[in-house]
Symmetry: C2
Subunit: 136 residues, 2 copies
Amino acid sequence: MLSKKTKYGIKAIVYLAKQKDRTPVQIATISNEESISLKFLESILLTLRKNGVLGSKKGKGGGYYLLKDPKDINMANVMRVLEGPIAMVPCVSLNFYERCDDCPDENACAVHGLMAQVRDSSLEIFRNTTLADLSQ
Amino acid sequence: MLSKKTKYGIKAIVYLAKQKDRTPVQIATISNEESISLKFLESILLTLRKNGVLGSKKGKGGGYYLLKDPKDINMANVMRVLEGPIAMVPCVSLNFYERCDDCPDENACAVHGLMAQVRDSSLEIFRNTTLADLSQ
DNA sequence: TATAATTCCTATCAATTTACTAGGATAATA
DNA sequence: TATTATCCTAGTAAATTGATAGGAATTATA
């Protein structure tokens, strides 16, 4: 299940991508427009900033803005920042790999093989989708 | 993230599919062979039986067995029984649909469109994979 | 028929995660 | 210096997960 954090995060950056210019948008504005709890959104935007997706400016006239052009922001990266691994099991994750305690041989594991296929197909979609695609 | 329930459930039916005949296999046997907690596995096999994937026999010589030929058991059904919806968000789920509270227009939602693609590709894999494929 | 072996079923529980809230610190602007 | 905004840490209620406990029901067999 996709977390609300990820869902809200995507909605927020789509909102930013739809802006005409790159002047900072306040959390409160996005919160209102997208019906997202202010404080929760605040923490989400913070992680997006800490992970290089957004920039921010403090004080009056401050807010959040995209650091790159929407067409250069791919959703695989956004998903990893917000949701964590794209794979459904850690043992097939490319960026968050962990071996299974209960698995003597990973390559012989039926679950592993199936989930590797699913990861590949999901990853292809996320990699080939940019923020620009989502905000049209 | 795939739950342990689903992971164990798949491992258990793959184990059953690998048996030479269809005589019932005891929970304890699968539990030992696949390193799965006995009581937890018991509850998993119970749900697989209640959902038409497995049959069971009580008493001495009893146990669980596949109701259909492995090549006729598709993983989409197994996933739905064990894990629930295949979609990452309820609003794109075919079998467990729920609309989003925060979404005025589902068709205009960027998250919806992206997650519908992911569901399609995952579903295709699960539908085209049978238990026989996994147990070879 | 008695006994042992097995699944069936309900209830419970600790740990973790999720979705959110609180409140002050910090920085920029006017 | 006052105001406006983000920054940051901490906390918390509810739900979910991954089990565990223990007896009831059923079946095979001696």
